[in-house]
Symmetry: C2
Subunit: 431 residues, 2 copies
Amino acid sequence: MITNIGTILHEKLDGKDIALRGWVHRHRVSGNMVFAVMRDPTGVMQITIKKDKVGEKDWKDANNAYVESSFTVTGRVKKDDRAPGGYEIEATGFTLISQGEPFPIAKDLSDEYLLDVRHLWLRSQKMNNIMKARHHIVNYLREFFEVEGFYEIAPPIITKSGCEGGSTLFEMNYFGEKAYLTQSSQMYAEVFVFSLGKVYVLAPSFRAEKSRTIRHLAEYWHLEPEMAFYDQKMNMDLQESMVKYAVGKMVSNHSELLKACGREPEDLRATIEKPFEKMDYAAAVEEVNELGGKMEFGQDFGADEEALLTKGAPAPMFVTKFPKEIKAFYMKEDPNDPEFVLNNDLLAPAGHGEIIGGSERIWHYDELVARMKEQNLKIEDYQWYVDLRRFGSVPHSGFGLGIERFVKWTLNLDHIRDAIPFPRTINRCYP
Amino acid sequence: MITNIGTILHEKLDGKDIALRGWVHRHRVSGNMVFAVMRDPTGVMQITIKKDKVGEKDWKDANNAYVESSFTVTGRVKKDDRAPGGYEIEATGFTLISQGEPFPIAKDLSDEYLLDVRHLWLRSQKMNNIMKARHHIVNYLREFFEVEGFYEIAPPIITKSGCEGGSTLFEMNYFGEKAYLTQSSQMYAEVFVFSLGKVYVLAPSFRAEKSRTIRHLAEYWHLEPEMAFYDQKMNMDLQESMVKYAVGKMVSNHSELLKACGREPEDLRATIEKPFEKMDYAAAVEEVNELGGKMEFGQDFGADEEALLTKGAPAPMFVTKFPKEIKAFYMKEDPNDPEFVLNNDLLAPAGHGEIIGGSERIWHYDELVARMKEQNLKIEDYQWYVDLRRFGSVPHSGFGLGIERFVKWTLNLDHIRDAIPFPRTINRCYP
């Protein structure tokens, strides 16, 4: 019976005879012994192959194995406190499935090289752990919306107009016509406010960002909920509940995985347990300047300003009520303060910065058209979107979360490119 | 307390005072009465507004309402066997949230017009039901893979090369370079066979299909699992289990919704309970010809041939072992019959046709390179993919399911465009 490493560790199969399939993670020959560390999808396990305990061909195979060669091993599980995980396998058989060639990835290779061989670098323990954690995080986010009674909808990727402005649109040839890759599915999600009520999208979005930063991708996964009859307060409460839910589940169920990714689970405790701090834009600008930053009223926060603002913060914090003129046309004016909009960013601490942007949407036709004229937008470019306000409109709110930014913060990664298997940046769309 | 229609029906709130928010589905004025059918995200409900039971402004609002106007109503729930669902509301208050304009969708409008106003047509009960059912189907598919221990991975959409041939590639401008929208994430999923073992992708794929048919979309959602150490038999078993799981859950948990979409749940019984029929390509060609079709050995099945083959079938059927030369280069040869490959299509009955294509993959470097040369493919266009076989390769299999085709069959829809909110076809990428 073929088992796996996770089962051996979990069920403490000390003394049992087992068979495993996997890959060589480390390999060392020492006289009449081969020491290997095996990896499979569930973990790593130390294996000793003694010349006098295996057949001749098996001994040859064990000697000939390269790092990343695939193989099967049979043997007995033995408790050994020095081994990682506390167990090792004493081999009675060792067969190469595919020896292959010497693996091209060793230590101290450049980031660029590792991106060139991303299809192989994804076999590393580092990327394995991150991709597993990403899987769980995305599942918990979906689970949250399932519990809250949302419907998931599938928006189009190919569109005729942009949502966040023309300069970062990717253009494409659609059967001879110009079309664009979506920057956000928000407008399409808003369609469903008037039928399914509470919906979310989880789909790729695209931004032709020319900036090379540790938190921008040209292609990223975008979680975009949109809720009928939600005002901005309910919107922010939902965001906070969602973050607490996903992070809470990760800490409760995957603390070892978090540690393996570089995140101390205890550092997420405040996020789960304490209410998020809220600060309005005007106060946040003052705060930035007091902390030594330089910012004018009416500017948006950059990475440096967000880092200053969240420096001592134990958890994500909301910044609310931005000036109308620096925000998108669909955000609703604050009725008490019409120079500002009913919106929020959610900033993750320790320099991770913005992970969510949300707002109450303008739901009256006249108000939307007036704002679009103020911002010199052509109504006809957004005709179907404006139409939504012509037929039984209702108040609604929504937000957008960048999955890779959320993963980067939750796992405390240095760079956003590691939060996605095949990062797309200004100079790279290969492999 | 604001409730919703589903709760009233489910909890049988006869005699209770309630408040609802929603939209006018139907509307009729008759003397001192307004009869309305209200819709909200959970259902439809009949409402009677009597002039002498509501205030003056409320009576005016009830009279002024258009189809699709949004409103709130307060009133008492009353059992009424003539009403849809068995209950109606006797209004004590009626307030328009937004009257809006007369709704442009009435009966007997052309398909093209309904596609032009898709953002409004999605409010119809028909599209509401389909979108809810799609949500559940996709959730059950994911649930199946979660239970089976798969990891979900996020592939890139923007790529440098095609998987299914150049003629249906959408080209785009990637920071001044030529790039393409992915046709399939299979190759990227295969990367993870060597680390996470069993993975799946659920992401958009793109085909610049010039054909206008009832089962082609230029943009569709593609479910692509890939499994280490699976041979073609295990691959087909997995496909069958997956279909049985998702369809079984729909029949058990959402039979009313299935009926509302036009699918008689009992017609799915054989799919859930009987083993799927398997027929190899050669036999299937003979069968087509016997049934009155005209097909040469070496041709692929078209819609007509698939319809003939599945005519009397009570459930999806597998067609296996296609001739090597009409199938993709990555499919493994049948060792007993090297003119054929270890692959399958899965055909849905009643003319719905192909919903899955799967195969065992070539996992030896030399075999893959030889096949690519046979098919006149350039190795350098697929360098990273070929690389996967150079370092500890293992046997593996996988398949691709078109979500919209699966939804079309499960719900027995006439046209694939209704299985996705905003269909993209040769003449349409708006709204």
